[in-house]
Amino acid sequence: MFSLDDLKYAIRLLKKQPVFSLLAIGVLAGGLAVSLYTFSLLQTALYKDLPLPDGGRVVRVLAKSETGNGLFTFEIQQMRSRVTRVEELGLYRGISATIKEQDVSRTINAAVAEPSIFEFTRTQPVMGRGLVAADSMDGAEPVAVIGHGLWQSQFAGDPKILERVAHVDNIPRRIVGVMPEGYAFPIRAQMWLPLSRSELNAPAYVANGGLPAVVSAYGRLAKGASAAEAGEELSQLLRDVRQQTPRRDNEGYKYDAIEVMSFQRADLGSGGLVLFAVLNFVALAILLLACANVGNMLLVRTNERTGEIAVRVALGAPRRRLISQMTLESLIIGVLGGGVALLLAAWWLRGTNRVLHSLNQSLPYWMNWGLDIRAVVASAGFVLLAVLLVAALPILSASSVQSASLLREHTRGGGQGRASGRITRFLVTLQIVLISLVMVAGGALTVIAKRFVNVDFGIDTDRLLFLEAYPPEIKVPVEQLDKEFRLYDQRMLAELRAESTIDTVMMWTQAGDARFAIDNSQLADLASYPQASAVVSSDAPVQLGATLLEGRYFDHREISGGARSVLVSKTLAETYWPGASAIGRSIRLVAEDGKLGKPLTVVGVVKDVLDPGRVLQIDRRAYTCMVLPPNVEIYKAPGEFLVRHHGNEEETRRALQRIVERLGGTLSRPIAPYAEELESSIRLASAMTEAFQAAGLFALLLGLTGIYGLCRNEVIRRTQEIGLRRAIGATERSILQLLLRQSVRRLVIGLLMGAGLSVVALFALLKFAALGVPTLLTIGFSVVATISLLVASASYFSTRGVLRGEPVEALRYE
C-alpha cells in the first residue's frame, strides 16, 4: 500500500517544518505516555499474572463478609477434599511477627503456612530447604524459612545463615532456608513458619490463641473453571458442611458464602478497582485529546495542501494512494511519538515504583511496575489507534470532496469548503466534550486528593503510639471468651498505666458498623435503622481519643459500675438531635435479628472521628460515629490501645513490647505512632491521585491549547467569509455576534455531551469517595466557566484579529 516514494515525500514534508513535526510528535507522545502509564499501572496492579510459574491460575479463596475474609479452619478443612474447581488448595495465616536480635526487635510480615506452599509456587529456596511435613508435627523443632530481603537486612547476608537461630515472637527458630529475591508469596511475606497440624485439625470452631480458628486460603483454578464457578462450588460446599455441623453464633465473625478471585483483585478492593477504571477512562480521554490536537494540526496542513491534492487528483492519483500518503505522515508521527511515549512511561513507572515502595513498605510483591512485553504490545495498539484517529481527519477532509469541486473550491476563494468546516466544528465539539470530562474527573480527584492530604481523623496524634496485641491462648469455652478478653484488656491497661514513660493509655478498638435506634423509635426492618461506625473505648484519665466537646468521657461508672453509656460524634448529634443537646438522650443498638438492645445514655459529644478504614468515603456517613464502653454487646475482640508517652519513642516501644511479652500476648503488627497508622491508610491512594493530578494538568493544558487552537483555526478558516460579510455591509459587531453565537452553539452541545460522560465518571467516583452537592456544583460551574471563557475568548480575539484590517485584506487572504 505504501510506496518508498510516498515515504520519502512524507519524511521530506516533516523535515520541511521541524517545529510542526516536533510539536505533533511531542503532543502525541504525551497523550500516548499517559495512556500507556495508566494501562501499565492497572495491568500490574490487577490483571497481570502473578510472577509465579502458571501464575495466571493462582487465586485467593475468601469469605464473603464485610468485616473480614478469613475462613474458619474447620470448615475449609472439611471442604478441601471435595472441591474440584480449585486445585492445590493451601492454607495460611498472615501474621506480624517480632524478630529479636541482640535486644533489638523488629516486626516483620510472616506467613504461617502449610509446608506445601513452596511446591505450590514451584519455587525452591536459594539456600537450604523449604518447609516439610515434619515441621508441622506437634513437638517438632521450630523452624523458619526467610526471604532474601530479610536475610540481607536482618542478617547482613550472612553466608552461614543456615547455622543461625532467629527469635521469632520469643520462640527460637532454626533458619532452614532462604527464598529467592523478590519472592513474598502469598502477599508480602518475609518469613514462612509451619502451620501446625493441631491447628489445621482443630475441632469445629474452637478458638486458638484467643481468636476463632480462622485461616486464609489460596489455590489454582482447575483448567476450564472460572473464579465465579469456583466460588459457587465452595459456597455450596460451605452450606453442606454447615448442615452437618451448624455454626455457632457467638464467634463475632460471620460469613455465609465464599468467593474466589485473583490475589490482585482481593488486595485492591472495590474502591481501588473503581479508581483504576476512572483513571483509565480519563487517560483514554487524554489520548483522544492529544489525537484531536495532532489531527487538527495535520488537518490545517492538509487544507494548506488542497491545491497539491487537487493537482494529484487531476493527474489521476487513485484515492487509495492519496489516503496512503496522508496516513504515512500520521504513521511516522505516531511511531516516533509512540517511541518517546514508551520511554516516558518507563521513566514514570520507575519513579512510581520508587515512590510507592518508599511510601509503603508493605506493598504486595507483585506490584513492581515497569514496561513489559504486554506494555509494548499495548503501546503498539495505542499508536495504531492514534494513527487511525489522527490520519482520519485529513483523510476525511481530502476524500469528502470530489476532485473537480476540490479544484473549484481551491481556485474560487470560497474558503476551504464545507467538508473542512464540518471537521473543524466536529473537532471543536469533541475537544469540549473531552476536556469537560477530563476537567470534571480531574476536579473531583483534586477534591479527593485534598481530603486525603488534609483529612482530619479527629484525634490528636501527638506522641501517640498504637498498640495491637493478641492475647495469649485462652483455653475456655467460646461462651466465656468475651469475659476473658475483657480481663486481658484490663490487665493490659493496668500494666501500661504503670509504665513510667507513658502519660496515659486507653483502649480504642474500631468495631465496624453498628445499626442503632434513636431514643425509643422502632422501625420496620433492620435496613431502615441508621448506621454509625463504632469504636469501643475504655475510660481515659486524660483525653486521648476523640476530643470531648460536651458532657463527659467514660469513667468508673461505665468501666466498673455497669452504666450503659455512649459518646456520639458531633455529626451524629447534629443529625438526630438538631438544635438540641444530645446529652441525656438515648440510643439502642440493633441486633442482626432486628431486636433492640437496652438503652445507652448519651453522656458526651465528641469531635467527629474518622475510621481509617473509611478514609476513601469521607462523607457525612463516615463521620456518623459512636464511642461505646467495653461493657456493651458490640465488644468483639481485645487488644487495640492508644498510648501517649512523654519519653523516648523507641524506649517506649521497647517497654510496650516487654509488657505484651510479660502478659503472654503477641503483637499483631508493629507498634507505631498513631499518626503513621492513620497516614498509611491514605498514602498509596493520595500518591496515586497526585500522580494523576499531574497527568490531569497535562491534559488540561492539552485541551485548553487545543480548544484555543481549534477555535482560532475555525475563525481564520473563515477569514474570506468574514471579509465578504463585511463587504456586503455586515458591521464588526454583527460578525462578532455571529461567530460568538456559533461558538456558543458548539459550546452548549459539547458541554451537554461532556456532562453526560462526566456524570458516568462521577457516578463511578462517587462510589469511591463521596462528594457533596455543593462540591459537584462548584466543579461543574468551574468547568463550564473555564471552557466557556476559553471558547469565547478564542473566538473573540481571533475574530478581532481578522477584523483589525480593512475588508479587502480579508477578501484577499490566502
Partner: protein
C-alpha cells in the same frame, strides 16, 4: 441627491502600501467622476491599481490621501460602522472568485446582505431574494449549495446577491476572470442588462473585448488614469469612439 449630482467623485485620491523600508504608491492622485446610470470598465496591466481603485470605490479599503464623495456625501472621514452601512445599502459587489459561502444555500447567500438590514422584514426579504434570483435566472437552484453549481452559475448567484439590496452602485472585480468564454458572455450580458435597467456599474476587467462593450472605458497604468473614453455602443456593430480624455 439630485439628478445632476455625480454618484462618485474622487479628488486626488492616493493609496500607498508601506513595508519596512519601501512605500509603494498604488494610486497616485486619482480624479474621477461617475454619474448615476453609467457603465464603466477599469482596465490596465496587472499591478496598475485597478482593483485597489475598485476597493476604494466600494469602501472596502481606505485611501492615504484625497477626497471621496459618494452620492453627494463626503465619505472620506467616515468610521467603519458607517462605511459598512453604506456598503450594505448603496453598493453591490461581484468578485472574480465569487465568494459564496459554502455552508449557506443559494437563497441564503443571496439574502445575506439583506440580513444585515433592520428595515426589511422576512417576507420582504424573501420577495427581494426571489426577484434577484429571477433576474439572473437561478430561481430553480435556490435550495442548492454553491459546491453543486458550475462556475457560471455561481457567478450569476453572486450577481443576484449584489443586486438583492437594490444598490445604487454595482462594483465587479474581474467577474469573468474565472469563467470560460461562454459563461463569461452570459455574465457580461447580465451586467449589460442590469445597466439597461438603470444600474450604475463599474467593472474591473483584463479582457479587452469585455472592456470594449462598456460605454465608458477607463485605463490605468502605474496608479494613474491614462485614458477615459466614452463610446457609443450599438449591439450590432463595434463600439464607436465618442470622447477621449487624458
Amino acid at each position: 441627491m439630485n439628478k445632476q449630482t455625480p454618484l462618485i467623485q474622487l479628488e486626488g485620491v492616493q493609496k500607498s502600501f508601506f513595508t519596512e523600508t519601501v512605500e509603494t504608491r498604488a494610486l497616485q492622485g486619482i480624479d474621477l467622476t461617475i454619474d448615476k446610470g453609467e457603465y464603466v470598465t477599469l482596465s490596465g496591466p496587472s499591478g496598475c491599481g485597478k482593483s485597489t481603485l475598485l476597493s476604494i470605490l466600494g469602501l472596502l479599503d481606505v485611501w492615504t490621501a484625497g477626497r471621496y464623495v459618494l452620492g453627494g456625501h463626503d465619505v472620506t472621514s467616515l468610521g467603519r460602522e458607517q462605511r459598512a452601512r453604506i456598503r450594505n445599502r448603496e453598493i453591490g459587489f461581484v468578485f472574480q472568485s465569487f465568494h459564496l459561502i459554502s455552508d449557506l444555500s443559494i437563497e441564503e447567500n443571496v439574502a445575506l446582505p439583506l440580513t444585515y438590514r433592520t428595515d426589511i422584514g422576512k417576507a420582504e426579504r424573501a420577495r427581494m431574494v426571489a426577484e434577484a434570483l429571477d433576474k439572473v435566472e437561478m430561481t430553480h437552484r435556490a435550495k442548492h449549495f454553491p459546491g453543486q453549481l458550475s462556475g457560471g452559475q455561481q457567478q450569476r448567484v453572486a450577481v443576484a446577491r449584489a443586486l438583492a439590496g437594490r444598490p445604487s452602485l454595482l462594483l465587479a472585480d474581474e467577474p469573468t476572470g474565472n469563467l470560460d468564454s461562454k459563461n463569461a458572455e452570459i455574465v457580461v450580458d447580465l451586467l449589460e442588462q442590469l445597466h439597461r435597467d438603470g444600474s450604475t456599474i463599474c467593472m474591473v476587467t483584463h479582457n479587452p473585448d469585455t472592456a470594449a462593450r462598456a460605454p465608458r472605458q477607463i485605463a490605468l497604468f502605474d496608479g494613474t488614469i491614462v485614458s477615459d473614453r466614452q463610446v457609443a455602443i450599438h449591439r450590432d456593430r463595434p463600439a464607436e469612439l465618442l470622447l477621449a480624455a487624458n
